[in-house]
Symmetry: C2
Subunit: 155 residues, 2 copies
Amino acid sequence: MSMRTDRQIRPAGKTALEQMPSYRLNHIVHQYQQTVQSRLRSVGVSMLKMRIIMSLRSYGQLTVSELCNHAIAEQPTMSRALDSLEQQGFVRREQSRVDSRLRLVTLTDDGRRVGEEIHPVIMEINARMTDGLEPEQREAFSQHLGQILNNLRTM
Amino acid sequence: MSMRTDRQIRPAGKTALEQMPSYRLNHIVHQYQQTVQSRLRSVGVSMLKMRIIMSLRSYGQLTVSELCNHAIAEQPTMSRALDSLEQQGFVRREQSRVDSRLRLVTLTDDGRRVGEEIHPVIMEINARMTDGLEPEQREAFSQHLGQILNNLRTM
């Protein structure tokens, strides 16, 4: 008796599920995170912490809620990650002089060094991800991603 | 003193970060999950459980490790989700008659009913996600997603 006779597989379903944009997007993001984590294991920071460091590296200084948006986390998770990054000596939090309710987050020198370690790896994985796409296909793909993000946000 | 003078923003960084495919992909998947969860709150199952139900709905019957691949979870997390789905009466686990080390997972009638509730909502969100893209653009986008997934898996 073959494996096949033990199972009720509907091959038509396979195609439909795996061709859904959401299926591919979920798998891409999962695989991307696996790749980043395995390439940057030695740095010893979580994916969320990497996104925080990358965001601060780009923007210079962000409020906690801006960080929640860019680095994708709810406020409590973000606060715990920032506590930990502060303990590691990678970020500094200070009260805004303009609005005392706001706390502004910045990278320390050590944090900036971690950023310089992470950044080229993330850039390289991003470049290799779109290997095989012509420049105009990359451009179209990037535009489509922007459109889809916009569609989801206004849905 | 304006908000701006309190902060060291580098606007050039903003563009670079937000245009990275990984940034957009992360945000798309996050927003997609938020949308699905808010639309399907009444069903009362987590995203992982929805992915499990959608996978079983498509394939009929899967081993635990096949489910880990399709629904994206490590074995321990998957086992806990399956325990819970079994308690809710939505899935059934049985030993393969062919290979006694394998456990095959199937939807129960109740699980199938949940699948029929989830499926059209997921399909509609997927369709609306690509609103504004011409059929040939959708096709190209889908091909690009396939290519990128393949690139990441062979990186």
